[in-house]
Symmetry: C2
Subunit: 128 residues, 2 copies
Amino acid sequence: MRMTPQRQLVLDAVRELEHATPEQICQQVQRTAPTVNITTVYRTLELLEKLSLVRHTHLGHGAPTYSVDEHEHVHLVCHRCGRVNEVPCSLLDGLSARLSADTGFRLDASHLALSGTCQVCVNEEENL
Amino acid sequence: MRMTPQRQLVLDAVRELEHATPEQICQQVQRTAPTVNITTVYRTLELLEKLSLVRHTHLGHGAPTYSVDEHEHVHLVCHRCGRVNEVPCSLLDGLSARLSADTGFRLDASHLALSGTCQVCVNEEENL
DNA sequence: ATAGCTGCAAACGGTTTGCCTCACA
DNA sequence: TGTGAGGCAAACCGTTTGCAGCTAT
């Protein structure tokens, strides 16, 4: 494996943007290297993921978002407004232990999105 | 709104199949009404969802899966083999309360997929 | 010389749109 | 007779593939 300029730029972009889609990452990379193709971005993300340098999360519909691997937290996705909040993974410790004991399922807390309604939307709904 | 034959068939298919993609639902419908178009399936699913008769869940990559609304449980998606296990929503009660208290986020337990590694895959990994 | 990385274009899967036709209140 | 439901084809977005050219060993 060679750390080519393109790959470095993709990794930098993931680091800077946090939760960015391949499309957004590509745009960011193209600000310094306009000829970089989105195909390269996809291939690089796949590679970086195999190397455990980045990870991706499906936040519901649309494209997945990529983050650097150290970026560990749980995503709370509001299905009403689309906002994404983050909370520490430790909130899942109890559930994780429970699942493991009951079903043997090993929860991956950082690669995770929980859906529901965020506080803002809950308030808005109550004011109707 | 009119409960047309097509719409009834789509609803029946969702009920029978559980966790089916629009594509699968379409195939099921076409077994009794071969001319029904996938466009109609999409439009009907959207409609049924607005009426809270069905709901959809994103189980990771690929197409979402649809279930009838009463079908309430948490999906455990194994990111190694793709298997989907189900556990009762009550397992999330603690987390739900915690999230609500800490952040005001109202968790929708039934519209939810948790990712991780299933017991089978955990065992396989340990036997390497 | 060779392996492997890149760009481009084309194919792909899943979904949405526009439009025209049809059925039904 | 007018509103809305369905079918079809085309557009669409996100992603993957095949291939040809280039680059660094």
